[in-house]
């Protein structure tokens, strides 16, 4: 009943998924999860299943779209890709992220 505690700052997973889809193109859920794991290495402690709630949220917002396709194990599975609105959103979020990063970095430096 209680909200699941996240290991990532809120919204980070969304950003990772959208960035992955931007670089890699259309992918299914498993491949997205694997790709995020590979890129982040050991830095990220994330159960793979956690991307599904994020995916439905992004889909409902209209930033990614899903279509049914066939997996490498010959099963029906959803393939996700970024929409036009998603690209715009990603760009805006990356900018916001960088700004916040820069601000925090400056602040930490100054505090030193």
């Amino acid at each position: 009943m209680s909200k699941r505690r996240r290991d990532l700052p809120y919204g980070t997973l969304d950003l990772l998924i959208m960035k992955t889809l931007e670089t890699m193109g259309e992918m299914n859920g498993y491949r997205i999860a694997r790709r995020i794991e590979q890129v982040s290495g050991d830095a990220l402690k994330l159960s793979q299943g956690a991307i599904y709630p994020a995916l439905i949220r992004l889909e409902q917002e209209g930033w990614i779209r899903a279509r049914w396709g066939i997996s490498e194990t010959n099963r029906k599975v959803k393939f996700y890709s970024l929409t036009k609105a998603g690209r715009k959103q990603l760009k805006a979020e990356v900018e916001a992220w960088e700004q916040a990063n820069a601000l925090v970095a400056r602040f930490l430096e100054a505090a030193l």
Binding site: G29, Y30, Q48, V77
Partner: protein, 887 residues
């Protein structure tokens, strides 16, 4: 894109099942791919499956989060609780039916009266911005009641039209009654006489044709009329080519050309000067509009019979208009003594329009609301008692970690569900009730014919359901959420008992119910006493076995028709006696004269002589109605135009003007000192002719053959059921004269009942409400006392073992019940003293605070309520103490 996600989420509620399946498929595919990758990395089949699952995380947790993420969680939870409540309620059909029915009765009663209020009071007349319309009459400046409306606004309105700034426009109108002569018979109609300005003042546009033009009232113009939508439909079949056709109207030489048709639903504006006309019905739909034609004399527009309506100028209030008119009048009063002592009265049309309706509907609405409150009390008690039975369940769930808020919500939703079903059922009941009201209500509630039941009633019913849910559900819900699981679970087994404090609270609810019921019963009692008082009041005439109808011969020789009619109808089988009369009791009479009476001081002008109502009757009328002749003689058929004028007076007249001497042979001048006087030849006993609740006042009767009445009643005393000869009479009259309008065929008993209809309607409804409220309260008392017995059974068992007698136990419980009832009765008497005042205008010879009624109702209710204690008392005295104490 902001709206996109919320919509998707709502959609997800509906697609719940499909989305779940889709997610499951995705997860399975995910695990399969992960497993394959792990195998390829060199793990065994078993290890690979385990590794895939480990890295995926908790599957159920993910599914739950997915659900939360994609949809509106609040709605899903409530929906689940709703389903849960539905299941719980359907498991206890008896309880559910009881609660739903109780609520349905309360909601139904209230919604039914509301739909009357909605149709009668809240539906504005079909004028443009009716709130801006005002009626202008006059008022005495010394604050006293005026005997009859002073007509001077009519004398002034033309000047006002020019001068007054607070009124945009002003028009004069009047009421008229006449007969249409159509090819297939004669039909009476009510018409509005209006000045040219009228339609633009009230804002009526014809649906067909045009309004009146200045040329319509020129002396040489062809007479024109505008007809009402309903007459157009009824008499002319909605003929679209009606314009230009002519209709003949009795007593008018030239036929009227129809130039327009008005929209449906237009009723009369109050015309106080015509209020006592026998056929005046302010709530009727207007059949015909005729222009007030001044003819060669423009002063005709100022005749005192006109009433005045105006429209406030934008930005002005009724008070400002009143002040402005008062100023002008005060100025005129200095010049003209006629205006002195009077001030204009500016009334809002809508408040005048609604006055009769409010008088009857608001008290009834109050009564219905009381029934609803009583019903809510019962349902609260039911829910509460049921909550006691489920304490264990609540406690277990609370111990398992269910939140207080959720328990609270659950119980609330249960009562909401009950109330919604009750509300829907109640709205259905309301529709039936409104039909019944229309059936028994008749003319008692103005414009009842326009009442319809539709969405507003259903919505109102559901709104009431929400209120009822809150009233009935809040306390039980609060209690369920406040349970201490430790305390409950420590107690043994499921119990249906309540603690002292809770019992007290329930007792207060029941006392409140008893109090409300008493208020209803007192209201019903007062109205019943009123009806009995009226029944016992000496009317002065007999009403049984009399058939009455209005008969008007619009063409042909007047006295020939009436003499032949009397001859012909009196020979019909079953007819005992027969008479024509203008001014039959209880049918209205506006015919009066200022009478100069022999032996009384001569008044300065005729207008200062006493005003006395006149009636015109044929010989045998008094005998037919059973009005005894005290002195002198009845009229004779020879008392006609060729004989000297004779009159009969009632004993109130004789007592007032000739006390100590005989009235016989004295002279009265009815039509001025220069006209021939009438000689009093008889004195008849008093009778209540205007209203059964009003003492007789002085009256004068004229001989029918000397005082011709155009529209009048034919009264027939019959041997058997009066209505059985109605059609024979009708045929006979039409044979004598095909242009005889025979209308309003009723028994005299019906006329009598109709005159009491609004009182009877109020009484019937109030008695109905009181009985329902009473039953509900009895159920409530029974339930509370039963609970009390169950809760105290240990105590009672101990009392029995230590030697308490049957009588002691009986008294113990009876006393409990009596305290409950007595508390309710005491509070109810207080409430009744306040609320019964709303009924004042319906009461006759009984005060709203009538002690006899209050005491009688209190004793009766206490007696009946103690009967409701009987079963619980029996249960208490039949307990087996050993069985109770052992467990």
């Amino acid at each position: 894109m902001r709206w996109r996600a919320p919509i998707q989420r709502l959609l997800a509620l509906v697609r719940r099942r499909r989305l779940d399946l889709e997610l499951e498929a995705e997860i399975e595919a995910h695990l399969e791919m992960a497993e394959r990758d792990a195998r390829q990395a060199g793990l065994s089949a078993e290890e690979a499956r385990w590794e895939a699952r480990r890295r995926f995380g908790g599957i159920e947790q993910i599914k739950e989060e997915h659900r939360d993420q994609r949809s509106v969680r609040w709605v899903e939870t409530r929906a689940r609780e709703f389903r849960y409540a539905l299941r719980t309620l359907s498991r206890t059909p008896g309880f559910t039916a009881m609660a739903v029915l109780t609520l349905a009765i309360g909601i139904g009663a209230t919604a039914a009266v509301f739909s009357l209020i909605q149709g009668v009071l809240l539906t504005p007349p079909p004028y443009k911005e009716p709130g801006q319309l005002v009626l202008i009459s006059s008022d005495r400046t010394d604050g006293q009641q005026q005997e009859s409306p002073r007509p001077w606004p009519a004398a002034q309105w033309l000047e006002w039209q020019r001068e007054v700034k607070s009124l945009q426009s002003i028009a004069a109108y009047g009421w008229a009654f006449n007969f249409l002569i159509l090819p297939d018979g004669v039909e009476s109609f009510e018409a509005m006489l209006v000045t040219r300005e009228y339609f633009s003042v009230v804002g009526l546009e014809p649906v067909l044709g045009r309004k009146f033009l200045p040329s319509d009232t020129a002396p040489s113009a062809t007479p024109v009329c505008i007809i009402g939508y309903e007459l157009w439909q009824r008499r002319f079949g909605g003929n679209p080519n009606i314009l230009g056709q002519t209709v003949r109207v009795s007593r008018q030489d030239a036929p009227f050309e129809i130039v327009g048709v008005m929209p449906p639903g237009v009723r009369f504006l109050p015309a106080p000067n015509a209020a006592r006309e026998p056929n005046y019905d302010v709530n009727a739909l207007v059949d015909i509009w005729l222009p007030i034609a001044p003819g060669p004399n423009p002063e005709a527009l100022k005749r005192p019979q006109w009433s005045i309506v105006g429209r406030l100028a934008p930005g002005f209030t009724r008070e400002q208009a009143q002040a402005e008119l008062a100023l002008i009048t005060a100025r005129q009063a200095q010049a003209d003594r006629d205006f002195a002592g009077f001030a204009p009265k500016v009334q809002s049309l809508t408040s005048e329009y609604n006055r009769d309706g409010e008088r009857i509907l608001l008290p009834l609405f109050e009564a219905a609301a009381l029934v609803l409150l009583i019903a809510c009390g019962n349902v609260a008690a039911l829910l509460f008692v049921r909550g006691l039975g489920r304490q264990q369940e609540y406690a277990v769930r609370a111990a398992l970690g269910i939140g207080r808020a959720q328990l609270f919500c659950e119980v609330c939703i249960e009562s909401l569900l009950l109330a919604l079903v009750g509300g829907a059922l109640g709205a259905g009941l309301a529709v039936l009730a409104v039909r019944a009201f229309k059936l028994i209500g008749g003319h008692t509630v103005p414009r009842l014919d326009a009442v319809t039941t539709g969405w507003p009633v259903l919505l109102f019913g559901l709104g009431l359901a929400l209120i009822a849910a809150i009233l009935a559900g809040l306390f039980p819900a609060w209690r369920a959420s406040r349970l201490d699981p430790n305390e409950v679970l420590k107690g043994a087994g499921p119990r249906a008992t309540a603690g002292r404090g809770e019992r007290r609270l329930l007792q207060i609810v029941t006392m409140a119910q008893a109090a409300l019921t008493l208020v209803l019963l007192v209201g019903a009692g007062l109205l019943i006493r009123t009806m009995i008082n009226i029944w016992k009041a000496p009317s002065g005439y007999k009403t049984s076995h009399i058939l009455a109808m209005t008969v008007t011969a619009v063409e042909g020789n007047w006295s020939d028709f009436h003499r032949r009619a009397l001859d012909r109808v009196s020979t019909l089988p079953g007819v005992q006696s027969i008479a024509f009369a203008w001014g039959v009791p209880l049918t209205g009479n506006n015919w009066t004269a200022h009478v100069i009476i022999e032996g009384q001081p001569a008044p300065a002008t005729q207008n200062e002589a006493p005003q006395v109502p006149l009636r015109s009757v044929t010989p045998g009328y008094f005998e037919l109605l059973g009005i005894p002749l005290i002195e002198g003689r009845d009229f004779r058929s020879s008392d006609d135009d060729s004989a000297p004028q004779v009159v009969v007076v009632n004993s109130a007249f004789a007592d007032r003007y000739f006390s100590g001497t005989t009235a016989l042979g004295k002279k009265v001048w009815l039509f001025g000192p220069d006209k021939a006087p009438g000689t009093i030849v008889g004195v008849v006993a008093n009778s209540r002719t205007d209203d059964l609740t009003r003492q007789a006042s002085p009256e004068i009767y004229l001989s029918f053959w000397q005082a011709r009445a155009y529209s009048k009643h034919l009264l027939i005393r019959t041997e058997a059921d009066p209505l059985s000869i109605a059609s024979a009479v009708h045929t006979a009259l039409r044979e004598i004269n095909p242009y005889a309008a025979v209308e309003h065929i009723k028994t005299f008993d019906q006329i009598r009942n109709d005159s009491l209809a609004s009182r009877r309607f109020a009484m019937q409804l109030l008695v109905g409400f009181a009985v329902v409220g009473c039953l509900l309260t009895l159920v409530g008392i029974y339930a509370v006392l039963s609970l009390s017995v169950a809760s105290r059974r240990h105590e009672i068992a101990i009392r029995i073992t230590v030697g308490a007698e049957y009588r002691d136990i009986r008294n113990l419980i009876f006393f409990d019940g009596f305290r409950l009832i007595a508390g309710g009765v005491a509070a109810g008497l207080g409430g009744a003293l306040v609320l019964s005042r709303a009924l004042r205008s319906f009461l006759y010879e009984v005060e709203p605070s009538d002690p006899a009624t209050l005491v009688a109702v209190a004793i009766m209710f206490t007696g009946v309520a103690l009967l409701a204690c009987w079963a619980p008392v029996q249960r208490a005295t039949r307990m087996d103490p050993m069985k109770i104490l052992r467990c």
